[in-house]
Symmetry: D5
């Protein structure tokens, strides 16, 4: 089941660089593990912004919530979730 | 080069059903041709709305504009384009 | 799987009363059938508005989309869907 | 009498974890006591957000205000209240 | 129980004056009857707009909904309802 | 001359409780004095929010500005003023 | 007593030119009469828009409402009124 | 050449009163000098807000920008500029 | 003197194609004449929208207003004007 | 390929002047280098705001993202990117 997610990151201006780097490293590892598992299908950077559009493929709303709230950057993110379904014009089997 | 596009469709309430059906049939054929060519990478329906999120892979801004304005439903659409680029955490070669 | 849905209805000012009544009668029958099936868990009127908040319990995003777009009033509605999940403080088994 | 309430929580980034945990523990106990009393009918987590949609069943506006402003997390919440009433299509006796 | 209501009226540009006048006459009679009953406590015109702020005193959300949807101008109104309660600084016994 | 005023209060999270209490006590005394004088006609709490809707009866715009900017909580308020006048349907002599 | 008013005009696309011209001629005459009386202190065109910013000097809210609703273009206008008062830095006696 | 300017002031809550007073004194002197020169034509306080509407008469966009960014309160202001021109109904020679 | 202008075009759905084409032809001729004169410095299409961003170089606000309101498409446009000036980092002599 | 970019700068109120000056000096040098290379085609100050409108000419979305995120002021900016293409009425060869 697919979901469209927009994430905007706002790190506090006074966060020490070392702490920011450590959180971002954990975020990257966590994201890549979910991508390898197939649950985090796509992630694209939005040009000029510290933000991304992502597509998740999960079994339930609850699974998506657990994944998102476990993001190391979650406390610094504004997240907006939109449920998706197959478009009748789509020719791509995996887009559902 | 990837672009995120949201399309919202608003057909006039007094459009005869036959005309609406004919436009939608042309829209579907046009969309599927572009999907087969690889330019329209993804299209998903937004649940509960006459709207979609799509990902386009085109050579230039101009090519995207030509594709979008040639949509049979273009006169009835509100379109919002966001340029994308590769996310540093992405593990998917094709997501750029 | 639960979803929160807000529906706002805008009937055209020039729709004949007989047509409006017929659509609303079909809407009511359709809604009640879905309520009896357990898929449309709750529906509440928003005070002073031709709008409702509803809770749906469906197996997938696709099922919800099919239900909503089959609403007799769908062409006259603005719909906004929000995915829900169990709240850690909830004591109600059915609220998930 | 039913009310739809949306609560968004924003804890200060520099709140010590121990203080945050203590407030959340009190919030949970308070919420569950109100759920058991029947006044806080439903609470659902909004997927991907530190926010909830809730349904309250109270005797008056004043009772709802007293309940909400006594929430341990109230100083950190943005709250939006919408009065509800029975929908003419509802088949559920308790949804009024 | 008090509610704050904002009503904005938008009559169709092509409504014949005689029909508009007849609806407004019924609206006025209906409003004054409710004012005399004590249920429609206050009504003020917003300067420069075809809109009003009103205060209603009703026994329940349902009663308010029935009153508002029976307004002769209801099909042409945008209505926004806000529940009120006694302010701790108020010295006016009737403001609750 | 009547004015509708909405006031939203936002106290800094790190304001010591004693200072907050002292400001609120002065605010209450000031508000009640103005209510007794007839200038602050009504004040209602908005359910679930640290905010109020008020009605002022003053001789001029300048008098209203002086009253509002002298509120002890003024530095922590967002204030929105709307000029009112008698509604043609009003039956209440004092509502003008 | 001064008020800042923004007026945006939206004439229906199908209004015959002769009717539009007649309304505009009456609007101009009415506006100039009020300017000569001193009640309509200033009127400026907003560059690129069919809209104006105006300053009115009237004895009361009610007088302003009567003036605005008597504008020949009133049924086609969106109007927003903001009450003004003397600025403590102003050196201009008439700006109050 | 005339411009309409709205300025909203937001001083930091923790700015020492002496510093705030010094900035405001310089702001007042600077504003009055520009008023005397004829460049700052009007300034009005917006009732209930720490904000003003002003009219500037300058030779160019660049001159206006230089004037505004030299305001002692500029770092604490949100400023919105709208270019104006003579309204065809205006009878006031100086309003252009 | 430079101005940034955004124009959004909304042609009525029922405008005959021949009339639309005639207006657009006049719009193009008018735009190109102004571009040749140097007053309309730049015009770019916004990808996916019937809209443009333009840069005008005119002697005054009034000249810009006259140019914009004489656009053949003006009655069907939403226009937003922003005054510009030289950026201190600009190395381009003509960008002022 | 052209892009329209709006940048709004918000420096923290407590940033020492020396640090701010150093960042702005690097920003200016970086911007001018990109202007000389032809990638940053135009930059204009928005009158009365710490903001600019810019036009970039880059080979890809990715190149634009790299340029923008390397801005010394990037951590303090809100950036909004809009893809552009040649307008059919443009007579300027370089505007594509």
């Amino acid at each position: 089941m697919l979901f469209h997610v927009r994430m905007d990151v706002h790190l506090p201006a006074d966060m020490p660089a070392a702490i920011g780097d450590e959180i971002k490293a954990r975020e990257k590892a966590y994201s890549q593990e979910l991508q390898r598992s197939g649950k985090w299908r796509h992630i694209w950077r939005i040009v000029g912004e510290y933000a991304n559009y992502s597509i998740f493929d999960v079994a339930s709303n609850a699974e998506l919530h657990d994944i998102l709230t476990a993001l190391p950057l979650f406390p610094y993110m504004k997240i907006e979730v939109t449920p998706l379904c197959r478009h009748p014009s789509s020719i791509r089997e995996s887009d559902e």
